[in-house]
Amino acid sequence: MRKLKEAWELVRDFRDGVEDPVEHAYKVLEAIERWEGRVNAFISLESPELVVEEAERVAKSIKSGERVGRLAGLIVSVKDNICTSFLPTTAGSRMLDPYIPPYNATVVERILAEDGIVVGKTNLDEFAMGSTTELSAFGPTRNPWDLERVPGGSSGGSAASLAYGGSDLSLGSDTGGSARLPAAYTATVGLKPTYGLVSRYGLIPYGNSLEQISPMARSVRDVALLLDVIGGWDPLDATSLKVDRPSTFTVEAADPRRVTLCIVRELVEGAEEAIEKAFWALIKRLESEGVELVEERLPVASRALPAYYTIAFAEAASNLARYDGVLYPMKGRSGSWEEHVGEARVRGFGREVKKRILMGVYALSEGYRDEYYIAATKIRRVVRDEMLKLTRRCIVASQASPILPPRLGERLDDPLKLYAMDVYTVIANLAGIPALVQPVGFHDGLPIGVQWMAGPLEEGKLVSLGLLVEELTGLRGVVAG
């Protein structure tokens, strides 16, 4: 299995003069050159000259003994629903093609301040609505581990860029599993932080109350590094928590004898056989290392998925009202304002987006609001209460996906199947708690992931357990090909 140095090791080696940031930049650009035509992980790329120039700047700073940032020389890809003032930001939609925001998202500012180099903007399902990255106006992204298969979604471009070595770190976003599902499908790591730990300022919203910008990488330590850089209070986001910047990077691998895992039946059953096998193999291994296992139930789990989609669609319908072809003009223009807006929304949005807007409007309408939206928020409260109770005493173990990465087109025809891919991941979004997905093994060359959930602001615990698991599986830094 091909492996790359972890990102944090690279920074260390750049600083020690063992590795050259410029050479590294060329290596990443070569990987993009070699893979991108087949994978389509990026919607837009920074010019290679600029990337090399940035790497040279970092190299020069290091040589002259200047202080460099924590991401010095690392190549970072950014999901294309996160605003950048230097590259277009489309959210995967024709509606925003072309749109260059006048500002950077807070997370992008923080990455730049730590000398990270943004190489490009990654593909996604339109407005992050999807679980396969097939629903982008810029064509589907393919899974580098098997080009006939999807990389998961909606942060599929980010995951794919990591899986073939097209970036060292990546920013995804996770509304109902959008960073974790792709991580599971590409043998990478995705961490959905506690709601409010990472600023959403500059994240084009899909489901505001559910989503977080999420660090993605090829190892747990790398995800921790990126989380530490992007996390912490931001005055520009009223939902961001007034907490210090996280410090998870220095956390050590957990002592198995001090870990308690909750095995929640509803969150481990119902997956394909190969996935269940890989999951239980890891759990048994952990148990043999001294981890305590507790069996638990979560009866409300079956209602989580419909509650999640109801809330997400309602918020989406509202968020997407602003795209009317006026401030973000579509090519062509027709007649009166009403006609213009109508045509912009007909032509600018894809089918899935329109479907979700319609369902969201329905859920919020007078006479239906109580039955749908309000009811969903009540279920959400129960899910949150239950998960807070559970995570007070243990880390919750869960599958990441019920299925292996599907083939392109396989899931698209049946929306219920498509939505069911998120059955294990939406829990963390409804509860606002952190969740980590990391590789646990492969089946027929296809990656399988596992998910851990902890209490609010317990990202450190997840990193600690993740490091332990990496020691057992040896799965860190792996890339396809």
């Binding site: 996160i82 930001t89 925001p101 500002y103 300022y201 500059g202 401030l327 309408s365 309000i374």
Partner: protein, 481 residues
């Protein structure tokens, strides 16, 4: 047939400094189009609203002054409708259902009819804090004929109070008085400057007892409140008297033509898809906030101020004249504080000075156009101490102070007449006929003689009473000799 009127008054919190959710300015007047904007108030994708503390504090002050029930926390809701100058196609507002919590429920506005000195009251249903939309500007023939519209977002996001009354108002005149009094109240509380262009708008619901209600929109001045409602009342009366039925509809006030015109029939409740804005967590209204707002209310409540002045023995019409012009009242209170005699000070400020300023076309609401309190105190003392007669101050000094408020008192005070006795002797010598008339019992000749003395003294200060006494004394001597 009794009229039933309820008002919906939108007042900008123009004194908040910033817009409701960003740092752009609350007062946008005089700025070139689209220069008072940022990603937040343009509703750009990914930008997030953060509530301005000042706006909430001022809204709270208004709510407490209007004796509202104030909640422990407020919740903003999104109100969706498509409109060209509403950049997100939803307005961040408040709503009493669907999870929203307005800043005020169940208040009351007490207002004064200054001509009868009758206090009236009207219940307030609720007060919302919300953002103002941008402005659509039509060229070439207005909304109906212009081939295009221009949108200016300078106003977008300016904090507004939406004050909704119960239908307790019985006449168009009362409606005007209420709005005038309310605006004055808000001015005293430091919430708004009622004289800024477009700072408030009024929509009114009006019906005749037993008839459908009609909503009249687009009323932009207090005079138009009375005009529009009088017109509408007359229109409805005529329909009813002719045996017709008033239809439930929305009508538009055309101030140029002085008529209301049909806008649309209101057959359905509008569908606004209200739900709590997920970007804005509930804002706590703490006891400290209430306490400091109450402090403001107690020191600047209009009714208390009026009562305070009346207690000083000031005439009602003078009192109203003072309070209806804030700089006048502030000047007056300072004068009294410095020891000026209250009743005379009230007359000088509220009648004489204010009249002269108006005569000169000065802005009476600009404190800089008023002389300093020390000057007025001196004037009052001169009159009370019989140094100068009131008529001299009124006729000779006030006009000079009005045109030059910073003038030093010694510059504007007329020279005190000396040698009045000599002039009296001169008059007695020369006005032979008048003297003879007086001595023959035509006592009114004395007035003529007083006038003659004053004419001869010219533009110097002299008290007519002193002249009269002198003349009478000398005439008695003449009669006795």
């Amino acid at each position: 047939m009794k009229a039933i009127i309820g008002l919906e008054i939108h007042v900008q919190i123009s004194e908040a400094g910033s817009k409701l959710f960003c740092n752009c300015k609350a007062d946008y007047r005089g700025m070139p189009p689209n220069t008072n904007v940022c990603p937040v108030c343009l509703g750009l994708p990914g930008a997030l609203p953060v509530v301005s503390r000042r706006s909430v504090e001022l809204a709270l002050t208004a709510a407490l002054a209007l004796k509202c029930k104030v909640p422990k926390f407020i919740v903003f809701t999104r109100k969706h409708y498509f409109y060209p100058d509403l950049p997100k196609n939803y307005q961040i507002s408040m709503f009493e259902r669907a999870g929203g919590v307005p800043i005020c429920r169940d208040g009351v506005v007490e207002y004064l009819d200054p001509s009868t000195w009758e206090w009236k009251s009207c219940r307030i249903r609720r007060i919302n804090i919300e953002e103002d939309p941008g402005r659509t500007v039509y060229e070439e023939g207005g909304v109906t004929r212009s081939p295009y519209a221009l949108v200016d977002y300078n106003r977008s996001g300016v904090p507004l109070l939406e004050i909704v009354t119960e239908p307790d108002i019985e006449s168009p005149r009362d409606a005007r008085l209420l709005v005038e009094y309310l605006l004055l109240t808000l001015e005293y509380l430091g919430v708004t400057n009622p004289r800024l262009e477009g700072v408030f708008r009024v929509d009114a619901n009006i019906s005749l007892e037993g008839g459908e209600r009609v909503e009249v929109k687009n009323i932009g001045s207090t005079l138009d409140v009375e005009r529009a409602l009088s017109y509408e009342l007359l229109r409805q009366r005529k329909i009813r008297e002719a045996g017709g039925v008033v239809e439930r509809e929305t009508r538009h006030w055309d101030p140029a033509r002085g008529v209301t015109l049909p806008l649309r029939h209101k057959e359905f409740e509008e569908e606004y898809l209200y739900f709590p804005d997920p970007d804005l967590p509930p804002v706590a209204i703490t006891e400290e906030m209430v306490e400091s707002a109450l402090k403001v209310v107690r020191s600047r409540d209009l009714k208390l101020l009026i009562e305070e002045i009346l207690k000083l023995g000031v005439q009602r019409d003078h009192a109203w004249s003072l309070v209806s012009t804030k700089p006048a009242l502030e000047l007056y209170r300072r004068v009294v504080e410095l020891g000026g005699e209250p009743q005379l000070a009230a007359r000088i400020i509220a009648v004489d000075l204010k009249g002269e300023l108006k005569e000169l076309g000065r802005d009476i609401h600009n404190p800089l156009n008023w002389p300093p309190a020390e000057t007025i105190v001196e004037l009052v003392k001169l009159v009370v101490g019989n140094v100068y007669p009131y008529d001299t101050i009124k006729g000779l000094v006030i006009p000079k102070l009005a045109s030059n408020p910073q003038a030093k008192l010694e510059e504007v005070l007329p020279e005190r007449a000396t040698g009045v006795e000599a002039v009296v002797e001169e008059v007695l010598r020369e006005e032979v006929k008048a003297v003879r008339d007086y001595l023959q019992g035509k006592t009114q000749a004395l007035n003529y003689l007083v006038g003659s003395v004053i004419r001869r003294i010219g533009k110097k200060a002299v008290d007519p009473r002193v002249i009269r006494e002198l003349l009478e004394k000398r005439l008695r001597e003449l009669a006795g000799s």
